[in-house]
């Protein structure tokens, strides 16, 4: 085995209280040459202030179109151990819950066939196996399958759905995020493994409007729990908060976005018809207030990073949908969207960009949804776009011709 290279710059990153990724690479390097190679190449990057990875070629496992990111060094002669350094994306268990057994199994596989380095987890949520060679892909895949794991997505397919901890440990979860995430992952196996879309498609499930999985910012489809009826109030606990010194007027009511709460020093009145389920009052007084009982989710569409047409947040498609297995209403909607996107989406056009290009009105028509004012944030409108919109669909042409009198001399 080669020696661990000298890394004076990286060594600086072993200092300080936050856990050090350099220490982690060094740990792996104690037993793995690829990790040594990575240390050497990364030190070079630190010295030269530039990355040394080349564009990936297409690598993968049989029958799957996604799940592996090919990666090659441009300093292969200096660091032959990382000449090939592909990552594998492994679909994580919903909510990122593990048994120690499962963790050890993953380690065994990866110690045998890869660099011994991982990300727990990648930004999309996968377990990232960081660095291996092409010949190891199939053996790894076989052992993962055996251990009950599967690959995640990459390329133009469904990406590994992810969710917040939800009902497993959160009192605010308005539906079972982990169950839905598992169901979507299973239902859309084909779409996950065989890239056939115009571009990637991400699902993220949050149990309530707090959105602990940042679904509204980074999922093509954001499924965010909410409720329809009244906030559940425990008046006794409200009083305890007040007695405990909480300034309910200033910290709760005045911060309510619709000013629909009123505290008269004794009772808390909520005009639930104007509550927009922002969760603020509930998070300030979790013992006293809870989401209502008629629960479901808001379905939003289209968030993404800035390339090409600008960063997007997801926008409201269905203000409220029940979230009960088998989630048929949701799946019907998903499939209608995919049909339309598959037919009209341009190469590398995310669904959010498509909607902007064809217009939300036309998109709704195509997928068979009624337009609703909840879909629109009118503060940002300028009174121009509507000239076209102000046109009722179709008019019988013809008869007006006669009436027309404008003659140009």
């Amino acid at each position: 085995m080669a020696e661990i290279p000298k890394t004076p710059l990286l060594d600086e990153l072993e200092k300080g209280p936050w856990p050090s990724f350099v220490k982690e690479i060094k740990k792996a390097a104690e037993k793995n040459d690829m990790a040594k190679g990575l240390l050497g190449q990364l030190e070079t990057s630190y010295r030269e202030k530039i990355g040394h990875w080349k564009h990936g070629g297409i690598v993968g496992v049989m029958g799957y179109g996604g799940g592996v990111i090919g990666r090659y060094s441009d300093l292969a002669d200096k660091f032959p151990d990382v000449a090939h350094f592909h990552t594998m994306r492994v679909n994580h268990p919903a909510g990122w819950f593990y048994t120690s057994e499962a963790l050890r199994k993953l380690c065994d596989i990866w110690d045998e066939h890869g660099s011994g380095l991982t990300n727990m987890h990648g930004s999309t949520g996968d377990i990232i196996f960081l660095g291996t060679t092409t010949d190891q892909l199939e053996p790894i895949f076989a052992k993962l399958t055996e251990a009950g794991f599967d690959l995640g997505g990459s390329g133009s397919d469904v990406r590994t759905p992810s969710c917040c901890v939800g009902q497993a440990r959160c009192e605010w979860a308005c539906y079972d995020t982990m169950a839905l995430t598992y169901d979507l992952t299973m239902t859309y196996q084909d779409e996950l493994h065989r890239p056939a879309f115009p571009y990637k498609y991400k699902f993220k499930c949050s149990g309530c409007p707090i959105d602990c999985v940042a679904s509204i910012a980074r999922a093509d489809m954001s499924i965010i729990g909410t409720w329809k009826d009244d906030i559940q109030v425990d008046a006794g606990e409200v009083k305890k908060y007040a007695d405990g010194g909480l300034n309910i007027d200033k910290l709760v009511c005045a911060n309510c976005p619709t000013k629909c709460m009123d505290w008269n020093g004794k009772t808390l009145a909520i005009d639930n018809s104007n509550c927009v389920k922002c969760m603020h009052c509930i998070r300030v007084m979790p013992k006293a207030l809870r989401p209502g009982k008629e629960r479901g989710a808001t379905i939003l569409l289209g968030s993404k990073a800035p390339i090409v047409e600008g960063a997007l947040l997801s926008s409201v498609l269905v203000p409220f949908m029940e979230m009960k297995p088998p989630y048929q209403e949701l799946k019907d909607l998903v499939e209608k969207i995919w049909d339309f996107w598959g037919e009209y989406g341009k190469n590398r056009e995310r669904v959010g960009e498509l909607i902007q290009r064809v217009g939300l009105g036309n998109f709704l028509e195509a997928i068979g949804l009624e337009p609703r004012p909840e879909m629109i944030r009118r503060e940002t409108e300028t009174p121009h776009g509507h000239w076209a919109a102000a046109l009722p669909e179709a008019f019988a042409a013809g008869d007006q011709e006669e009436l027309r009198r404008v003659e140009i001399s």
């Binding site: 409007p209 909410t226 968030s303 009174p383 076209a388 919109a389 008019f395 007006q400 140009i408």
Partner: protein, 338 residues
């Protein structure tokens, strides 16, 4: 009096519908009486104003930025006779404070070639109907109505509490025979905001063609080229926009938003337009908090509720499809349910 206290006014008070007083640092007072005018006035009427100014106000008067007539006197005792004279001459006193004042408007069929509707006629009908609100000072706040007879929007209606806007709904007709003679084809092509117009040749004559799917009926091509008439008795009509404002008081100035995509031209009394405006005014008057303009009110209750309360149907037409449209999609879960 005004010269003497120029720049040295201290405060004002609204005394009754159409009457206010300004008090100067010096203690001097000036009482203003505001009277409605049809804006389109004959010289007879102007001479009548002059006569009243002479009789009551030392020969002075002014008009407001919304085309009302204002007469000023320096003693409280002179207010009553002045009001009486104005009313009896047919100029109702009001429109001051939290009231509905005159409707800003444009030419319509009286003088403009572009008009998709008449201006003065609708204004007359709506003001007749809302007259009680001209004569009050008790509304939650001010409310500004404006009308423009085409998208050129000479009334600058785009920031009004309620905007009445004439619209076309068909692409222009192309008078192929005279087009080349009357218009510069490259200018015509360039005038179209949606690039719907292309040069073409018909029967060997150079002309243009219009992609009907792209045309948004803005009439900008007609403005530069008379051979593209767009007026159309069947399909022209009126749309209604709400929630705009100009002043910086409380909330920032904002654009009006589409409420009713289309109402027919139904002269001479435009009953559909009159009813639609009254409906919106009443929902606001009953439910708004003090100082809330229509837009502030809607901002608080949310657009979905506004559609619910007014019974106006939300349709595909309400969804913006201009190039900034994406910014108008609702990108949060802050929604009212049930």
């Amino acid at each position: 009096m005004i010269k003497k206290n120029y720049g040295a006014w201290k405060y004002h008070e609204i005394l009754s519908a159409g009457v206010m007083v300004h008090v100067a640092e010096s203690g001097d007072k000036v009482f203003t009486v505001r009277a409605g005018s049809p804006r389109l006035v004959s010289t007879q009427t102007i001479r009548k104003f002059a006569e009243i100014a002479d009789k009551h106000c030392g020969g002075f008067m002014r008009f407001t930025s919304r085309h009302n007539a204002e007469f000023m006197v320096t003693e409280e005792s002179k207010v009553k006779p002045l009001v009486a004279e104005l009313e009896s001459a047919g100029f109702p006193v009001g429109g001051l404070g939290n009231a509905i004042t005159s409707i800003i408007h444009t030419q319509g069929w009286v003088h403009c070639h572009s008009a998709a509707t008449d201006a003065s006629g609708i204004v007359k009908c709506v003001m007749d109907d809302l007259f009680e609100y001209f004569k009050t000072t008790e509304l939650p706040g001010k409310i500004r109505i404006a009308l423009a007879c085409c998208l050129n929007m000479c009334g600058a209606v785009h920031c009004s509490d309620i905007a009445i806007l004439g619209i076309h709904r068909r692409p222009p007709k192309i008078l192929d025979a005279s087009l080349k003679r009357l218009c510069e084809i490259p200018n015509v092509v360039a005038s179209c905001p949606t690039a719907a117009i292309r040069p073409a040749t018909k029967d060997g004559v150079p002309t243009v063609e219009i992609d009907e799917n792209l045309c948004m009926f803005c009439a900008n091509c007609f403005t530069v080229c008379p051979a593209l008439p767009i007026n159309d008795p069947l399909n022209d009509g009126v749309s209604i926009w709400v929630g705009g404002k100009v002043s910086n008081a409380m909330s920032e100035p904002r654009f009006s938003k589409l409420a009713v995509p289309f109402l027919p031209n139904n002269p001479p009394r435009w009953p559909e337009v009159v009813a639609a405006v009254r409906n919106i005014v009443e929902v606001w008057a009953k439910n708004a908090r003090p100082f809330e303009r229509i837009g502030d009110f809607i901002e608080r209750i949310g657009w979905p509720r506004f559609f619910q309360m007014t019974g106006i149907e939300f349709t595909k037409q309400h969804i913006d499809d201009f190039k900034h449209a994406g910014l108008t999609y609702k990108r949060s879960t802050q929604l009212r349910h049930g």
